[in-house]
Symmetry: D2
Subunit: 289 residues, 4 copies
């Protein structure tokens, strides 16, 4: 099976290697500043890359917000329209985090565009890698051990669940806060200490570290003031984040906003997760947007 991979960062580079190692024919375009992975062919032209491909892969995120495919490893600019026009009719195009612009371009080019970043298996695998990255970050940022560390995890969504799990496994004393009764019940059922996100004021002073996973301003200045001076804050929430970083800075608190952890701490694992999502989409015949 032939894959064409257009653009992409280190994670996508690793993905090309994984696909080739699985026995596929992999042609890349738009990664010209790096030597290709073993078994991968660097195409001279878009057409060469896409010709006869069973699927075309775009990066994660697919576009740079200015009409081009994300291609930090290329010396050339690769406009989305040009990329989509090179795709043969009927060939599925798989891309990560599709923007309205890209979706519109795809409709114009009559492409069969699918967003692999909507696949739950990829989202969860990313959450697992993020949780692990949070542990690594916490180890690097504190001068204590995770063992015995009193940590508050704010939010019990995917990342909150997996982070709390790993923290406790490493011997931390884990409190998890949530808003919904149902989440509080789960938190208790898993053996963590529950707290209500809306009523953290009284407990904030008792933690050595706080890990936020909620993408809303949970830790405003009034709440940050209640933290111990040596408490470490890690914010895993996507934009706009859940922590007032300016206030944290004024208060002299150590606070880290960690975005894109999977690609950073575990690019191979991140690439493997994309591969699995891609295979699943193709096996199921694609779920075109």
């Amino acid at each position: 099976m032939k894959f064409a991979v257009l653009g992409g960062d280190m994670r996508i580079l690793k993905l090309t290697g994984l696909l080739a190692a699985d026995g596929h024919s992999v042609h890349v375009f738009g990664m010209d500043r790096m030597p290709p992975e073993p078994g991968v062919i660097q195409s001279e032209t878009l057409q060469e890359a896409c010709s006869g491909a069973a699927a075309v892969l775009l990066p994660l995120p697919a576009t740079n917000g200015q009409g081009s495919v994300t291609s930090p490893l290329s010396s050339r600019i690769l406009p989305c329209e040009a990329a989509l026009q090179a795709v043969e009719l009927g060939c599925p195009v798989l891309a990560g985090r599709i923007t309205p612009d890209l979706a519109q371009a795809a409709r114009k080019a009559e492409s069969r565009l699918t967003d692999y970043f909507l696949r739950e298996e990829l989202i969860v695998a990313n959450a697992a890698a993020t949780a692990e990255g949070a542990i690594q970050l916490l180890m690097e940022e504190t001068d204590a051990c995770i063992l015995g560390l009193r940590v508050l995890v704010i939010g019990y969504g995917r990342i909150g669940k997996l982070t709390a799990h790993r923290l406790r496994a490493m011997g931390a004393e884990v409190t998890v806060s949530a808003r919904k009764c149902a989440d509080i019940a789960w938190i208790r059922a898993m053996g963590y200490t529950p707290a209500e996100t809306g009523a953290l004021e009284d407990v904030l002073g008792s933690f050595d570290a706080v890990v936020n996973t909620v993408p809303a301003l949970v830790l405003d200045e009034a709440r940050l003031m209640r933290l111990r001076q040596d408490c470490v804050c890690i914010d895993l929430a996507s934009k706009p984040g859940g922590l007032d970083f300016a206030a944290a800075s004024r208060l002299g608190l150590r606070a880290v906003w960690a975005l894109g952890l999977p690609g950073e701490v575990a690019p191979r694992a991140a690439a493997a997760a994309i591969r699995e999502a891609v295979y699943n989409i193709l096996r199921e015949g694609g779920d075109a947007l």
Copy 2:
């Protein structure tokens, strides 16, 4: 605050004790064959029990299917209609697993009826107790240790999640099967071996025990025949169950259908979970059906 508790089994009896220990005035009717818990008052009449009550509690399940409140600890029959008519106007009535019949009777009596068994916090706490009961059952049914036991958990819903968690914690080699890609992703993210529920045939022969949580016939005769002769089967699924027990019997397999585990293995924990749901409903002002 005065609670009236009408009917109920050992679990509800324990609940009355917990409510009294929290400082509430608790009046019971329809538990006359057991001495009341410390601080609980046994009322002579329905009216005496309900008069001035801030809330009236019915058991779990609330009715016996023949128009009466479940009251195995009473020598009398307690018709639902009579019970509802004794409730003062506007007083919330909290019941577990409300049937259409009971709902209709409540509408007729203009009762504010709420089902506490719809509360996620109670469902999850029950799932946790069920998972723990499954471990206990597995210990009792096998002559091996959980340590090193190769166990298949079928289904990754609430009970599947919590059972897999505990099994692995005790040192079992845990495989979890599910149908959806997203669940498979979670199973992998938690570190279990994933399997597809629809394609168990090839792997069934490699387990020492199977725990089913899916309420559909997953383990039919053809699949049961693939199990090892000494494999232990535990079915946690509610009716109709997920295992062909007649076939299991013919094949000489040890198979247990475990229903109502929380009340059986941990009545105090089960009572505490009901109490929490009751408090949450009352605090939120009731979510009348």
Copy 3:
């Protein structure tokens, strides 16, 4: 390889099945009240059983304290002397918990007697099964869940370590007490709450369950009086035990002295552990007493 197995309980019966399943020729004598396991031969005489055997196995414990081999599954009495005289010269005899009497009889009969119960691998496997049995017992004895249960484990030897590990894995809040600084350090390094066995008075009132592993009177009447009325006590210590059972009874406390748990809760695992010790001894050429 031919094994002769003389006497024994259900656990040894299972051992004969395991040896036969490994392809050995297994001859038993002194288990006549039970049908032999598949592939095992029931010998008519001691001589027939022992003739040409590569090893002779005696039970665990080997003798009943009155000069006979432990043989609860036999209708006959099997004197140790007779058993040892039937063994061919030079053939290793492997027995569990050898008493001075048996050792002397062996010297007289010039037998190559080895105690398999001195093997660390068997002791540890037994400790693991005991720890698991303690969890099972705790589940059966309390009406709460292990999840959230506040448990004190007294002693941090083999059984204490493995019990604490499993309790925490199931979600209990685990305190472990020990005497030595080094053990306290380990307890902390594993993430449990440490306590000093010599100064338990102040903390005893805060537990839902106590598991003792120390074979000395740790829980005397004065200390038992400090426990909560509904606290469950499990004593895993070998004789003389670590708990004043008469006082516990006077105080109305639920207290269980659990001896011989491996054979009771996991006979197959217990048999497998003996088999491994036997194989290791034979492979190493025996370490005659």
Copy 4:
């Protein structure tokens, strides 16, 4: 209580802060290039520091191998003899990793010298911090996740035990190798896959990472050649280490020799562990060398 602290690195600096926070009077000499921790007094002279002290603390390791106290944070050289002569008669001197030279100097000065690094509680706390540091290192060195990583831990001493525990907790597939039957039994009882350190040849090719804890050449060139090309090697063993680093380099393997992890990854935890050992020694009246 007055403590005099002579010399020391960042870890000892943190120790002075912890002692002061406990309410002790802490006087330091030989850390002049750093501002003192809150509440700590920087003495001008050795005599001033030691005068009236209840105990004198030397660093870990106490000496630099050339007759001087380890004092990387000082601009001056602090000869051991001078330091010991400043100590008042009968005042206990607590030092880490006492060399024969220092012991002899202490005898000459009639000092009551004790080695706090011989305390099991400190050794274990260091092992826990080392294990945690190993996880951090592994996260940093691999581009995969710990989740699902196939890791071999060589050796089941203190560090091996605690490292295996944390690896499994993070979701790795853990194999532990040891030499003794007893350790193999423990490895199995904890639920890891056991291997024999003497017979690793056949299994070495199946790991993504190897963590060595044995201070002997376990991983020689012949064995390193059996590893996968992308296998990461972490050596936690003290000198001479357990890995042929020159061979690893020739073979293109990623190999890290991690010494002194506790002070590096968790100086505050390391300082707290020294503090506890110091308090225990003083409470027990010192166990003079």
